[in-house]
Amino acid sequence: MSDLLYRMRSLFRRGTVEEEMNEELRFHLEREAERNQHRGMPHDQAAREAKMALGGFEQVKEECRDARGVTLVENFIQDLRYGLRMLRRAPGFAAVAVLSLALGIGANAAIFSMADVLLLRPLPVPNPDQVVVLSTDRPDSPEGLGGVSYPDYRDFRNQAKSFEGLVAYQFSAFSIAKSVNDTAHLQTGVLVSDNFFQAMQVTPPLGRGLLPEEGEVSGRNAVVVLAYDFWRREFYGDPAVVGRSIRINGIDFDIVGVAPKEFTGLDVYVRPDFYVPTQMWQRLSGAAADPLEDRSNHAFSVSGRLRPGLTPEKAQAELETIWKGLEPRHSEADQQRLPRVRTVLKARIHDDTEDARLVTLLLGLVAVVLIIACANVANLLLGRARARHREIAIRMALGVSRSRLVRQLLTESVLLALVGGIVGLGFAYAGIRFLQIRPPTSGDGLQIIIAPRLDHRVLLFSLLAAIVSAVLCGLIPALQTSKADLVPALKNAEPGQGVRQRTIGRNALVIAQVALSVVLLAATGMLVNGFRKALLSDPGFRTDHVLILQLDTSFVRYTPPQSQVFYKELLDRAGALPGVTAVSLGENIPFGTGQNGEAVIPEGFQFPKGQSSAGIMTSAVDENYFSAIRMPIRQGRAFTAHDDDKAPLVAIVNEQFVKTYWPNQDPLGKRLQIGSKKNQWLRVVGVTPTAKYFYLGEAPQPYLYVTFAQNPRSRMALFTHTSVDPAGLAMPVRQLVHSLDPNEPVFNVMTLEQFIGAKNHPVQMVVEVVATMGLVGLSLALIGLYGLVAYSVARRTREIGVRMAIGARQIDVLRMVLRQGFLLSLIGIGIGGVIAAAISKAFVAGFVGLGSLNAAVCVLVPLLLMLVTLGACYVPARRAARVDPLAALRAE
């Protein structure tokens, strides 16, 4: 510490320290001379002897500086100044190098910001590394986290010793009104266990968190903690809000606190607007039985804070023991579940494997872009090294040590990288602005926010990227340059030795760049191609001239008969609106994220051991649904008005369902059971083609339709089909709902095209990002390639002169140079092709429905690279061949 202060003083008060050093040494010389005079020496001799005894004045000072430990830093500053001077003197070189690095670093920073927000960023709680994620995973669904039922959570919490705290939470959309007369609107709330804030070590700056007694009795404590953003937005940051009340699903809740600004919940995508106790779930949902007591309702996410020194593995072992003890209370299906404890990062990866893969892929691609950029700069530096070999040789002749020289050259590349990094952050900022995805609310009304930002983590990452690239592009040129052969260099001749070695090195660089470009372009080509194909594919139903609007009568706590009346009334009146050609109800909006499913048992299908049903997406629809969205019926019939609650239960499946469960059998008349109608059989009356249900690129999914009349739901979507612009119907339909019940909130009011377009937006964005990356990589590679090849051909001007002097024709020279360029690019393309082929296999395995290496990519990429290499050879070769042999021989 004191050492640092001492060095700092030496550095920053250098003037003073230098002055003091001079004074100290001068004093010494005077005293010594005085003493010498005392001993009888004449004045002049006394002073001379004193100086001789001390040794070189400046040398002593330099040694003192060394002893004080300032030289390292001083040298660095000196190098930096020198570097800046050199860069100013070669602005073209500096601009290309900085731009190359800026593109590379900027692209990396932007992609990192996305990876950070999707996967890497720690939870916004104190000591986030102690937090782990608990789940009870189903063995039949290898991906995704299995939710935890509240009774299971309670047993874990009471029995497990591995955790300092175990919290349960569940996101849901709620209808919010600030007062009785206020129009209700939909917000994202989260039901949390009473210990949520305390265990996550989150202290509300205003009011309090939840109290233990608020987790005791169902429906007793209607209290709410507001999220910071919601409080700022809805209450304008009024601190007097604590003690006031707010209506949630028509129930008055007392506001008891406001969560801290930095705490945005435990989920990557969903930021809650408020927190209410789990014990309010039954009252809020209007359910007849308390869902908190239902051991088969795996609705909760559970996180825990590990005790110090414990690993997730140990905690999991404890939970497995507890789970064994709970076995008698579990249904047969639930006994198959396995409790799992994962770190937050692992849980995120497990929960969304496809996102994780995509992020890894993008990070990999963008790293290749950076490597290409570094290769460019390394080339430029190598080129400059030759131009500078005289300067370097002079400095070495003057006694500069090699390590000092390497340090100085590295300082120059660090300087380049830092400037490149700063410019790159500008690119990154633009990129991040582009990446800020704000899709509209998902099908279940939860606001999804993916907000990459340029924060300290991204800055740190960019700095790291800059330093890595400085070393990558600077070290080898620096080492090579400082190997300069003194004598010939000083004689202003070509460095004799090492030419061959250097040519090999540069040829290797050309090959590496070509190979990397092939890999990058093949990968991006495949991705873009695959995604584009997906985006252009037919979803299997009509998307134009449809207005959607979602409703949930549980927000106004209707009974099922009340709901039926409400929806019937709505259909009748909406159908009568001018411009409307048809109206229908469907439970799931195609491409919505919160689509419902059922545990389905198809008759006669033998499930693997331990599995008794399959989770299949299921939508309750009315009799007009299929005709209205133009989904054809391939076999059998559509639902009719006669399939009501008194008629036999019926179902319609899609072709993929038939293929999976009743292959080569006639599906009509087959029966199946669904979880919500235990021990009753539904008869299949129709088959629809397999459409797209979640995203355009998805693999074929089995899908099930049941009738709304036989399966009443509180949450339904109204599909209004129009002969006019459907957006124009938004207001009339909204007003219609308001006139039926002013407290009923409506959400997701938009045209189906808008809805699906918004769902496709992230995919489109990925396509654009990948395509941009490919283009950036390609242009970097082309610039680098051209410079590299052109330069090495230009270097051979003398050799060409010799060849021509001894009788070679222009065409011979051209052919020779082109043949070599051709060979280099061919080797590069070959190596790149092999790597790309290997990678493409991994792609196809990792992303369902993605394109393979298509012909366009396979042909265009090598052709383009070959052309550039040949062009880069041709121009300088022709120039060289035209040169008068004598002039060429005299060159350099």
Partner: protein
Amino acid sequence: MGTDCIDLPQGTLDLLILQTLALGPRHGWSISERIQQVSTDVLRIKQGSLYPALHRLERRGWIKARWGASENNRRAKFYELTARGHKQLKDEAEAWKKLTAAVADVLGTA
């Protein structure tokens, strides 16, 4: 100065400086004079190596410097031992004694 003076082994200069300063603050020239005197001119320290050593010791925190008036009333930089310097001197002196004793043993001159 005769020809039979010996050059200082590495590190001993530091010990000598610390020992010299144990008796009280001194400036650089006086340290060099003092060492020269007590070592009866056999040990020869190059004056040029004294100052870097002083700066090194100061950086390590064993001695500290302040400006004061010299015996002939001129501004001079005085060095004195710090508490850590005292401890360092004690440790090093002991180590030195042990070393010389051991070496003497080996040479059979004890």
